[in-house]
């Protein structure tokens, strides 16, 4: 098994621990963590479909595109619920509309669901980075806790920022710097970003549960 494939499996498996923790304690979760649970369920289902399609040697691009769109939508709901300011809520909704439009534009450009919808993916990642920065701005402005490391949403937001930044860096690098040249190892960064995201989610979940239970 190649290193890239190994990282792909580790990345998929890394969903299981935070998902299991959230399912086990689902009665004690707050609104943000319930939304996060839905994201992890979607992620897990997409991973399973991906594996099944790759076993049958079928094109799994529709799953990637669907996951990108669902991830963006669920995180929009998450940020809409955790951002307090009316203006930032409006920005979140506007960015979501931009993402929907970009998915349509992307589809019109490629005219098929069996090719990667790069416009949607890149727009979604830019939007996620914007959400994350908006939340950091809110934290700096409101200073809700005395020790930021004890705040579960800080870890979850950091996870979103790390994942989105590393992923967009990978996409941009692949598409515009090395010019679409097949560079399998570049996906290592993407898988690594996913693993870090799941670990930071787990840290956030653990922080929440340790304070709540």
């Amino acid at each position: 098994m190649s290193v890239v494939k190994l990282f792909d499996y580790i990345s998929m498996a890394s969903t299981l621990i935070p998902l299991g923790a959230l399912l086990y304690f689902h009665k004690s979760l707050d609104k943000a963590l319930k939304i996060l649970l839905s994201l992890l369920i979607v992620s897990f289902c997409c991973d399973v479909f991906n594996v099944l399609l790759s076993i049958q040697k079928k094109n799994n691009e529709p799953i990637f595109t669907t996951y990108s769109f669902l991830e963006g939508s669920i995180l929009t709901v998450l940020y809409y619920s955790i951002l307090n300011n009316r203006l930032t809520k409006k920005i979140v909704v506007s960015l979501f509309i931009v993402m929907v439009l970009s998915s349509i534009v992307g589809f019109i450009e490629i005219k098929t669901i069996y090719q990667p919808n790069t416009i949607l993916t890149i727009t979604e990642l830019i939007i996620l980075i914007s959400f994350s920065l908006l939340f950091f701005y809110q934290l700096i402005k409101e200073l809700p806790v005395s020790n930021i490391f004890d705040y579960h949403l800080f870890w979850i937001n950091s996870g979103v920022l790390v994942m989105a930044s590393l992923s967009i860096f990978t996409f941009l690098f692949e598409r515009w710097i090395i010019g679409n040249k097949a560079l399998t190892y570049l996906w290592l960064i993407f898988y690594f970003a996913n693993i870090i995201f799941r670990l930071l989610l787990l840290k956030g979940i653990w922080k929440f549960l340790s304070q709540k239970i």
Binding site: S158, S165, L186
Partner: protein, 269 residues
Amino acid sequence: MEVSKSEDIALVVFVGTSAFALVIIALFLFIRLYQTRMRDKENQLLQLESDSRLRLLKSVLEAEEKQKEIISRNLHDEIGAALTVLKMNINNYSEDLPTEKEEELLSINEGIDNVINDIRAVCRDLIPRELSLFGINTALSQFCATAAENAKLNIELTSNYNGFLSNPTNELIYFRLFKEILNNIIKHAKASKILCTISQSDNELQTSFQYNGTGISNEEIEQIKKTNTSIGLSSIESRLMALNGSINYQKQNQSEENLINIVLHKNGI
């Protein structure tokens, strides 16, 4: 092919590390900014809390002084006047009595005089009129002279005080603080000589009590505070807090080096 593969890996490691480092730096900067702002906010809250506590303390002390003034006025005007009238009535009544009864009335009269004098002393203690009439230097001099006479010891006062405390309420608080400390020395130190020095500079007012006899140290004061709830000490503490002051106790037994030093700072008054 092998060269190309290792180049690819190097490129991926470089790109990945750079991207990851950028994000980590951004997060680190965010955390630093957050902690700095949180520290500022906590300091502001502490300052606000201390200011409001100080204001509350001052209001309590002011209310206490007002209450004392009312009690003093009532004692002087109502009970003092009633006793004077009673004394006059007894004097008028004595003119019609036989001589043997007159002596009894004379002793009752003396008793009434003593009660009137005691009431005056209590009134003076409750509201030091000399403070509002002649200022803090005279009030303290008079108090030291009376205390020296009553306790039969030598008390000297040197003062260059000149309006440092800026308002009558603060002066009254200071006057009571001074009295409490001097009374404590008289009561506990078995001193024969006390030298009080009040020294005013631009930014602070220093008051020192140098005395012989049994001294007391900061550690002993802390111990007393822990073991019993001394009203005198807590009154000193609250008055010092209201005047933004600090106190230092130095002990050198059986010499004249025992010292109690109070420093009041201008910015808190």
